[in-house]
Amino acid sequence: MSFITDHILSWVTFLPLAGSLLLWTVVRREGPARLLALGVALADFVLSLHLWFHFDPKTGVDQFVERVAWLADGRISYNLGMDGISLMLVMLTTLLGPIVILSTWRAVTERVPEFMGFLLLLQAAMLGTFFARDMLLFYVFWEAMLIPMYFIIGVWGGQRRLYAAVKFFIFTMVGSVFMLIGIIYMYYHAGSMDLRAFLALDLPRQAQLWLFGAFFLAFAIKVPLFPLHTWLPDAHVEAPTAGSVILAGVLLKMGTYGMLRFAMPLFPQGVATFAPLISTLAVIGIIYGALVALVQPDVKKLVAYSSVSHLGFAVLGLFSLTKLGVAGSLYQMLAHGLSTGALFLLVGVIYERRHTREISEFGGLAHGMPRYATIFLITTLASMGLPGMAGFVAEFMILFGTFGSTTLAHGRLLTVLASTGVVLGAIYMLWMYQRVFLGRRDNPRNEGLADLSGRELVVLLPLVVLMFWLGVRPGVVLDRVEASIDRVLAPLAIEGAAPAGLGAALTTPVLELPEGQGRFVFGNPEMR
Amino acid sequence: MIRDLVFVLLALLTVVPAFWVVFSRNIVHAGFALLFTLVGVAGFYGFLGADFLAVTQLMVYVGGVLVLVLFTVMMTHVPAVGRRRHGLDRLVPPAVFAAAVFGVLYKVITVVKWNVGEASTSPTTAEIGTQLMTNYVFPFEYVSIVLLAAMVGAAILIRERSHAGSDDAIAEEKQEARP
């Protein structure tokens, strides 16, 4: 097994790629194609479990490092590594992989091998993006995500799929090009594409501002941050269910991940200058997304706009520039990946049965589909951030972090405003739930709909379990990421920036949550 | 003194008909005017001691190219050019451009310290022949191959014209030409 464990990151990354190549060339029949895709995705998940169990949480340095000179006398290298932050997002990706594939069992009937191939290719690219520690390698993976997504939306999407696919592609490409220019500029000065060389670079303030802008634009479009979000609803609504799940579950996190991994540590001056502006935009996004979600007549669009709102929280947490906020932001990425991924799956389930997503078409679904209604309710609550669920921990940490932020002059105001987003979130989610599931079943077409099948339960239950688990045992995640966050944020020197009271709270090993929802451990290795 | 006189005469012979070429409405007249210009240029070559070039100029341009042009013009029916408008808007931009080019070239010619060799007084033809067969034998051979390609091309283009009339090509062509 050592030939696998020695290069475990490469195996995890390229196993799905191998699967997709098989699907495009050899396995051309529907049934075997589905099984093969599922098998590959499961195998990938099993491989990634090795990462989970062999990960050393005490250190923030990259682990399982693979480094081979690639080009230009090793100035560009094939350089993979993984710290706690990457670990969490990788686990989310490999977990969603088989779930997504299983969810398309009935939904996709056209060109199945190609579809599965694109899903696996996308997964390989996403994993590579999380592992890459060489900027060129990172950029290659980053861009490689575009093409499979373009085809997933464009070929298997809804009515306006062409428009949505092109819009998605163009938006992301605009951002990427500026980031590429930034990368090349830094390569020119650092003489190496290694991330460490980039970090070691001491750039003048002016350059940092521009470069931060270039990198941040690429990530902000991906997140998407408030004024740049317009591609997201189109992409989500037109994408097939599987595409939406991947998009919401992982792809959007690329933006926040990129900010955390690259934009923030590389350009501290840029962060210091732009943090007030960005956090304001994030709060605008939180409220705007929630308000727009409130009036959506289409369930899927509602979920899409709720993503804008939720990821606003993630960005706010990052740019609160407190350790608590950043950790909360990472937590939000996971929580949002689980709950929104599940929501899109659930929307897909009802769409398969009714071929519509209009809220007004539904009503009283809870009568005929009890299991569906129950799981939908749990997911709705998780998405709202009900205490005891993953989303609560995340939003709590983010708000707390922002409130105590000293670098943000208007941190308290932002916290108050962002809190209204939580309230609005509860309103639009519950209102939607009420209109869809409660009340009388007026529409005869809603009669006799089949409840969740066994396969659909298998798809959804892991997510539901995790929503609870992460809600009550945040330490599982936080212990593993703390050292990594410290390390990544070291260039920002934010530790000293924390106010005395909160600083003490942060260093206190055990923090009692007010609601008594279990203890959330921060920095105590014994409590794992 | 006599050299200056010869130069001025040759210059007039070259430039005045050139204006005629440009401004004449009658294409045959223009062709004949070009004859004088080309002869004038040949005169310059001779005047500068480039005897071989002068003769070549006469043989190739005056004897060959120009006669061909005149034949073509006279044998094919050139449609009478409709009275084109020669308003100021048509004349001024080219005139300004020409004046600018003239200015630049004039400045170049006067400002630059030219690398002038001794004008040879002996006939150059033998020397050129020797050079072509020794030092410059490679370009010489290369040109011959390129000219062969040009001949092949000419053959292709001409042959196709004659064939084109015989099959459906013309109809096809008309179809294409129609908007």
Partner: protein
Amino acid sequence: MELLHVKIPSWGDLQWWLPEAVLCCTFLLALLGDMLARGRRPVVAFAISVAGLLAAGALAIADTHAVAPAGGRAIMGDLMVVDGMAIFFRLLFVFGGLATVLFAWTSEEIMGHRRENKGEFFALTVLMTVAMMVMAEARNVLMLYLAMEGVGLTSYVMAGYMRTSLRSTEASLKYVIFGAVSSAIMLYGLSLLYGMTGSLQFSGIRAVLLGGGAEPFGILVAVVLILAGMSYKIAAVPFHFWCPDVYEGAPTPVAALFSVGPKAAGFALMIRFFYTTFAVGTNAAASNSLIQVINWPLLVSVISAVTMTFGNLVALRQTNVKRMLAYSSIAHVGYLLMGFVLLSEMGLAAILFYLLVYTLMNLGAFFFVVAVNNHLKSEQLEDYKGLGYRMPWAGVMMVVFLGSLTGVPPFAGFVGKLYLFTAVMDRQWFWLVIIAGLNSVISLYYYFRVARVMWLVRPDEGHDSPLRLSWLQYTVLACLAVPTLVLGLYFGAFKDLADAGIRTMAGG
């Protein structure tokens, strides 16, 4: 005659010029063979051409190791030089020529007509290959001009090769007239330069310039005139206007060759001429050349920016795929010129590498158009509907070419652009990189519009029968697509070749 620095050539020089010599013989043999077959069996000329090109390619590869010490080997009395750069372009041109010959054989446009004398087409392609090689080898003004005329004459003929088409004839005529004008302009510049320096050798010109024995204003005018002539050859704005018409009018395989061959040869010529004559030093800092009167970097960067922007913006509006590719090739010239801004080794090597990549991907895209045209008799984008489902393998390869032309990783075009961008990554020329980046996004739109029509739109009812390509077409397309993909991930060896080409370029 001492001034001309020419030494009497010896027969021994031919051993360094074997690939070209073989191709010259191939040209003659192909013509002869075609004549003997009375023009009825084009396969004779085709076979001879393919064999000749293969032999020349093998010889060129063998030469890669045998090449002379740094500075290359001067041949034919120092009129030409065989150095790393010459060898790089040799391989490139032989490859391009071979691919064109093979694909033209399958093209209905060239082979489909009931007409005799198709064989000459292959012979002419071979000769054009030789002429392009000479362009990359010339180090003497006389040779430079002859080489350019050689490429010019053969291309005029090939552009007008389709007898029946008005478009083709018009294209040829336009090409001839504009070509004549531009070469006259360039000749004027060259003769000014000769008049000022008294030398035809690049090195001789350089020596005089270094000695400060030339009037700056005169040099300025000469350089601008020469640059204008060469810009015509590579179709840079504002000397691009012939390009779309000629590409559209010429048979598509010919347009494919035009879009890569003469352009690459033009760049080779520009690199050798301007670099060995005018550049001082080798690093970016010393790029301010002997032409102090000109702000060379500014001049070239403005041409570059305008060219790429113009090409892309006009390509955006095209509905004919071939015409779209023609305009996009103008845009690529703009990208290539970026490497020329600083006259640095890094930039020139980037040009070489991009030319290699560009040859692969652009030939591929054009050849796909040829294959489609064979079946559909159309180059209109609307007829490409659902084409991906009718010819899946070729369709996938077309996506590879389009992705690479856009410059998306992991395709080779991305790497090419990466190097070009790096080459001008100087604070002063930052704006150029940004413009180039934005241009990539524009190009994304129209390239992927083709991919979109091919794959995301279903074919119309009744027009969804599968289309078959011959094995030869698949082979050639694969030979272009696979490297386009591989070079995007592993380009070390080829980049080294390009670097070596520039580093061992014979100095002035």
